[in-house]
Amino acid sequence: NAGVTQTPKFRILKIGQSMTLQCTQDMNHNYMYWYRQDPGMGLKLIYYSVGAGITDKGEVPNGYNVSRSTTEDFPLRLELAAPSQTSVYFCASSYVAGGRNEQFFGPGTRLTVL
């Protein structure tokens, strides 16, 4: 099992450009998440999905879009990149049942917007 994979690992964008961060999990988890982590800070939830076809906003959704057409894939789209979106982005997945939510994280995508 590869777990959660993310591509690319690094990316530099110019202001106003767009890109898609890819995330795939092979654990058949129902929930998937996108977080951003700024230097020295904790994790902020951008969007999450409870299953294929169902997504919902997290804490900081502005400037981002997601889709979930399959159980395995959960891409994050950045439209019109801004310097404030410079961050490290983590995708995670979890099998949520009852009171447990043990999330497995990908290695992250380090994004710089200049």
């Binding site: 959660v4 929930y31 998440y33 020295g40 800070m41 904790g42 994790l43 939830l45 999450y48 409870v50 997290g58 983590f90 995670a92 949520v96 009852g98 009171g99 447990r100 939510n101 043990e102 999330q103 497995f104 994280f105 990908g106 290695p107 992250g108």
Partner: protein, 114 residues
């Protein structure tokens, strides 16, 4: 809005010392997870505690869930340089609008000097 206050934010100690990290909230959680993150990588799940008063040990790491399931602690005995990293606590809920999402603490950056 649920909050998890994690303390201390920074901890710099010598190899062989003991330390404790605290995670406190006014909210009740159905379970609480502890993650460790090394520079340039995603968080990795260390442990989940579910029952009030539960204590779990992972080699030199001891995790405790408060009786009321509102707080948790991580104690490391005889810290080693390999313990260096960012430690995150995260609370999960069995229902309500927070179902399927984790509430993360801000993290504790631990540095263990040889």
């Amino acid at each position: 809005t649920q909050l998890l206050k994690q303390s201390p934010q920074f901890l710099s100690i010598q190899e062989g010392e003991n330390l404790t990290v605290y995670c406190n909230s006014s909210s009740v959680f159905s379970s609480l997870q502890w993650y460790r993150q090394e520079p340039g990588e995603g968080p990795v799940l260390l442990v989940t505690v579910v029952t009030g008063g539960e204590v779990k040990k992972l080699k030199r790491l001891t995790f405790q869930f408060g009786d009321a399931r509102k707080d948790s602690s991580l104690h490391i005995t005889a810290a080693q340089p390999g313990d260096t990293g960012l430690y995150l606590c995260a609370g999960a809920n069995a229902g309500g609008t927070s179902y399927g999402k984790l509430t993360f603490g801000q993290g504790t950056i631990l540095t263990v000097h040889p």
